[in-house]
């Protein structure tokens, strides 16, 4: 199935440069160029034989090997409920920076489901979807900083005037396995309530 899809994509959208990543274990996927993602999805959606009519997932993964620049990988998982198929379309993006997020075309015109999925990806991974009608954060607060699922993400220290993860609530002392330093806090007079 995948070889045929690659041919279909390359026939209709030559600039996509679709490639097949066949896997022995797990699922195979198709990598396309990020600039052609809209056309690729449009082709797959309108293809009569496969008819990928449902957008299931937009998932972003941050690949950041040590000492390298790394890249973001977006996976668009499409499914056909009429013809019973499923395909993973992947595309690579540069990681960009906080004020210059990597850009990719939005799929909102193809599927309404893309609206929230793209908002989630923007929130968690930090990808700017060009043409999205309402690109706001969805799971975190609107004034949250950073994109949590990035590998180099550091939690902000102060949020809305509150200290994030205050040390006195984190049981930090306990986690330093070693000498029994926290004896006082532990030997509660009546720990078992008897």
């Amino acid at each position: 199935m995948h070889e045929e899809l690659v041919q279909i994509i390359n026939g209709a959208v030559p600039e996509a440069k679709a490639q097949l990543n066949s896997a022995e274990i797990g699922d195979s996927s198709i990598t396309v160029d990020s600039s052609a993602i809209y056309k690729v999805c449009e082709t797959l959606k309108n293809n009569d034989k496969f008819n990928f009519n449902v957008l299931q997932v937009i998932s972003g993964t941050d690949f950041l090997p040590e000492g390298e620049e790394g890249y973001l990988e977006l996976a668009y998982i499409l499914a056909s409920f009429t013809k019973n198929h499923e395909v993973i379309i992947k595309t690579k993006l540069s990681r960009g920076s906080d004020d210059n997020l990597p850009k990719i075309d939005s799929l909102c015109k193809l599927w309404s489901a893309a609206n929230w999925l793209e908002r989630e990806t923007y929130d968690m991974i930090g990808v700017d979807f060009v043409g999205h009608p309402d690109l706001r954060r969805i799971l975190t607060s609107s004034n949250w900083e950073g994109h949590p699922l990035r590998r180099d993400y550091v939690v902000q220290e102060i949020f809305n005037g509150m200290v994030v993860n205050p040390p006195e609530k984190m049981n930090l002392e306990d986690q330093q396995f070693g000498v029994k330093t926290n004896a006082d806090s532990l030997s509660n007079k009546n720990p078992m309530g008897i």
């Binding site: 896997a23 274990i25 797990g26 699922d27 996927s29 009519n53 449902v54 957008l55 299931q56 997932v57 998932s59 993964t61 996976a75 998982i77 499914a79 409920f81 019973n84 499923e86 993973i88 599927w111 309404s112 489901a113 609206n115 929230w116 999925l117 989630e120 968690m124 954060r137 969805i138 799971l139 975190t140 607060s141 949590p148 699922l149």
Partner: protein, 389 residues
Amino acid sequence: MTFDLSEEEKIESPQGSEENIKSEILTVNMGPQHPATHGVLRVEIKTDSEIVTEAISHIGYLHRCFEKHAENIDYRGVIPFVDRMDYVAAMNMEHGYVMAVEKLLGTEVPRRAEYIRVLVAELQRIASHLMFFGTYSIDLGAFTPFLYAFQEREFILRIFEELSGARLLYNYIWIGGVWNDITDGQLKRLSGFCDKMEREIDKYHNLVGLNKIFVERTARVGVMDEDLCYDYGLTGPILRGSGVKWDLRKDRPYSIYSEFDFDIPVGTGEHGVLGDCWDRYWVRMREMLESIKIIRQVLEGIEAGPVMGKVSKIIKPPKSEIYLRTECPRGELGYYLIADGGKVPYRVKVKSSCFTHVSVLSAVAPGLMIADLVATIGSIDIVLGEVDR
């Protein structure tokens, strides 16, 4: 600002003539602490008198960073976290995740374990749909059915407690099999439960589903047609309520579902139009009957044997990725798992059905009465734990 209310609705509005009374658009926040939103969902409603012109859902109040957590815990440790996504149907959540990891590892699961997995998954489906039945009745103003539903649900939870040791968050289905074996006594009790449950469902349907007040509240309300479902990626009972015969257990069989004989109930538009709230309710009620059918077959066919396959102590799948979907009570749940060959998963992305289901609210809501919006939210049966993850 423009609001696209159709002409008929304007005439229907209680004010009568539009010229005399100037109505104002009012913004009402429903939630995040609201009994009818099933958790911490906030729906910002712009209303023109009683009619909703726009509904914007705000989520994220229950975000517990599951996907970030999963990057730091080993494969076994993720299972308790997976439970906490859809805490009403935790067994189904586990089932999907565990199968994804097993596929990467190439583990063979003993037959008995597969049977038990199907058994608990279907029991959980019944429990979850009973929960829907109860809470939906509460949404529509009937309290009694809730207690009836919990009575039967209690039996299932008790069985689960005896099996796994917990009532809600089981950590029962493990990589390679299941934790505990099921005893003959429990199987016997379950077969008695099946007979009772069939009668009970009939009773519930007579009590609530056929009631004229209930029908009036749900029929022709919140209609979602097939195209809308595909557009928004709606799955599960909502898709089936819209008349699409699609069930992963039949169409893309996983586990040992291909060996069982059951039907896929679809909506018929019996009391109103196809794809309304009543259809979704009716699909769920009949799904319970189908689940009982499967449980009966499990009880007949269950084989003796071990319940745990051979799994190494440290789980290290090879560098690979997988996307696996399972049919959960609320819709399709997909796990997109990327393994990099280490002890911890590199990325676990969850395709949550509730997440996509909430997004459809803004498309369905315009033109509904506020009370009908409550009925619609109830009928898509969301669990906020799965929406926010």
